[in-house]
Amino acid sequence: MVNLPTTPADIIPFIIAVVTSHTFITLVIFPGLIHLTVVVMFLTWYERKLLARIQLRIGPLYAGGPGGILQPIADGVKLIFKEVMIPYKADKPLFLGIPLSLVFLGALPFAVIPFGQHWVIANLDVGLVFIFAVTSLFPSMILIFAWASNSKYPFLGGLRSLFQQVAYEIPMWISALSVVMLAGSLNLVQIVNAQQKIWFIVPAFISFVVFFIASMAELERLPFDLPEAEPELVAGWFTESSGAIFMVIFLALYMKLYLMSSLITVLFLGGWWGPAFLPQPIWFILKALVVATFIIIPRGVYARLRVDLLIKIGWTRLLILALANVFITVVLLSTGILSAWGL
């Protein structure tokens, strides 16, 4: 607890006390605002470079730094100076407001993601449910934005996005259920602590596969990028967005990509645990970036799924597999096979 300053001489110590407090550092520097911005900007460059390499191109090169790593800054400046076009008869407050709330919703779940034993903003007891609740707001936001653009293709894309995300939420969170059963907690810090001896990818491998595929569908990544299928829908639900609005949506999407990779790291890949020669947050970020790489690569490799296949895979394969792994977890836990690893 820091006392509010009463005399002018107290102001400097007060500011120092605030800036060095745990709340401020975790909220603003790491794992909060600055870290998020830097990683998200890096991811936009990383995806372009990676896809270019897959397709035997060079990718961003001239923006400065090694391999054009300053490209995101150039992109940002360009997009900020572009004109924001608002479609005729679009719903202006919603059209401008929803992208901002998408960024807010994308950043909010990082409040409970633990990047290290003490590197967490809020050690919430219901952390996993919190993320579930916040991410379940995305589809409706997207549909409202698509509706607010008052245009045909965004609306079709918004409907597709809603169907897809609502359908794949179910197998995704059922597969997270077996992790919760293994760890015996919804607290993400405790879930990671339970993986000190064995990562949950081993006893819950099917869940890991289901969660990975479902999170790719949630992120609208290829082969699940039906909501923004370029040949059919121009650019899907954000077709009408331009300039700064597009940049904000872009940031929100990459924030969600980082969120899902972090979540997979927390749930299945042992979070911050790793050999001690690197600090815990570094291990976490490295693992999350590896997961992000595997989420990005299919974009350069696979073709887009058909709508009927998408629905069929979601409801008849992933859901069954997720439920099967819940059953397997019950058997594993009740027979005590996993007791050697303290589960």
């Binding site: 919603l94 449910v129 609740a133 707001l137 409706s140 409202i144 809603l162």
Partner: protein, 169 residues
């Protein structure tokens, strides 16, 4: 550093948000603004649950009501074209009687369960800050009767939805 807010201020802010959003939901001219206000109102109620030491309930309130119910409402608003309602809305003969029968059956079974098992309920409510791991045992062990009644009501609602959505061939 302690950044927590006094409970009174939390209550006043939450109440203002919830009530204003609820009024907006009723008064909004554009239906979609009504749906959004409804979502904000639900989020305010979730805030109440969190401030009452029931964070799990608060999160589920957001996930279920904002994440699912409001999505359904949005769907309905956007997909259903505004048409003149049919004048002839009276149910076919037999349907009304069957509905009454079912409602009566449901009411009788709920009353029966409550009367049989009601006296066995513990007089004191469980402690306020119940850990989540205890939620299941308490719900299924101490309070099975409300759980069963909820299940009956939900299955009744589900049957009703099936009847309403059924397309006659």
């Amino acid at each position: 550093m302690d950044l927590s807010v006094p409970p009174d201020i939390t209550f006043v802010v939450l109440t203002t948000i919830t009530l204003l959003a609820a009024i907006m939901a009723l008064q909004a001219k554009e239906l979609i603004y009504g749906a959004i206000s409804l979502a904000i109102s639900f989020i305010g109620i979730a805030g109440f649950f969190v401030s009452l030491d029931a964070p799990y309930l608060g999160m589920l309130q957001i996930a279920v009501y904002v994440g699912a119910v409001v999505v359904l409402i949005l769907f309905t608003i956007m997909l259903v074209r505004r048409e003149e309602p049919d004048k002839d809305e009276s149910p076919e003969t037999g349907e009304g009687a069957a509905g009454l029968w079912l409602a009566g059956l449901l009411a009788v079974s709920i009353a029966g369960i409550a009367a049989l098992a009601g006296p066995n309920l513990p007089a004191t409510p469980p402690e306020a800050n119940l850990p989540i791991s205890q939620l299941g045992p308490v719900l299924a062990g101490t309070y099975p009767v409300p759980l069963i009644i909820m299940a009956l009501l939900l299955s009744g609602a589900l049957l009703g939805a099936l009847v309403l959505a059924k397309v006659d061939k």
